[in-house]
Symmetry: C2
Subunit: 165 residues, 2 copies
């Protein structure tokens, strides 16, 4: 299963978007729950060497969120956004901004789509649309790939436990 459920990251040259695709060994309702439940999301979002603290989490249309990743030295990396749509169990659309950039106002539109597959499996497609190709390339060069793969590997482990069922 570890080789079957690979994380695919597609960023076509010259475009201002990233597509991430990943399959999971769990029904769509369960994967969706892991994205929208505060006690669960802190267990899997982010690189393996960081912990996560939720300051605000309102997974509904008109809601907001803010979370912080904390490294072993205690440094904090903040992220926040607003939620345009939560359509259970198939779609979440929200904005995303990393607070550690030199200036504010660099915002991403994220669309997560959850597709039910045969055998109680789920395919997640995450689209991130940036305000510019430069912003998109900056995100790729910042090593987001490792954080994303770590996150989904942790989610895999979480889905295999009884916690989310």
């Amino acid at each position: 299963m570890a080789t079957k459920n690979e994380t695919t990251i597609k960023a076509e040259p010259g475009t201002q978007e990233i597509f991430i695709t990943r399959e999971f060994e769990a029904p769509r309702e369960i994967v969706f729950k892991a994205f929208t439940t505060p006690e669960l999301i802190v267990q899997w979002v982010g690189p393996c060497n960081l912990t996560m603290r939720l300051d605000k989490f309102e997974p509904k249309a008109g809601g907001s969120y803010r979370y912080v990743h904390i490294d072993p030295a205690g440094n904090e990396y903040g992220f926040h956004g607003v939620v345009h749509e939560v359509l259970a169990p198939e779609r979440i659309i929200q904005t995303f901004e990393f607070e550690g950039l030199p200036e504010t106002g660099h915002v991403v539109l994220e669309t997560a789509r959850f597709e039910a597959l045969p055998g109680d499996r789920t395919r997640l497609t995450m689209q991130s649309v940036f305000q510019s190709v430069t912003d998109r390339d900056g995100m790729m060069q910042a090593g987001m790939e490792y954080g994303v793969k770590d996150s989904y590997n942790k989610l895999d482990e979480l889905l295999a436990t009884a916690l989310v069922n």
Copy 2:
């Protein structure tokens, strides 16, 4: 002035964004006020032959909005979104969705930038980033150009009155 302050709409082929640029004969604080005051915004947003009703308008980070354009026959066209950032008097970042599409989930990330020019004038740059080139082209083909130009011409007239000062 009518020829000087033209609305420029740029949609490069193959990209998923639209840039609209327009200058106004008013200071930046006043133009910004016209974008963030409910009594003012209903007077200028939308095509000339439609009226506008605000159902919800919260111009602040974490806020939401919904408005309706109404044609002479009484047909209603709804729009809504969430507000990521309102940085007075220079920037507004929000999502935008037209409720009249065959399916929901086609969302736009809008960034409005207000630049102070010499002579108490203001340059507005509005960027709309779409989830796909197809969505972007659909918006262009729907005739958004006329609505945008009508809106800014109405705003021009409003800025020339004492109402916003």
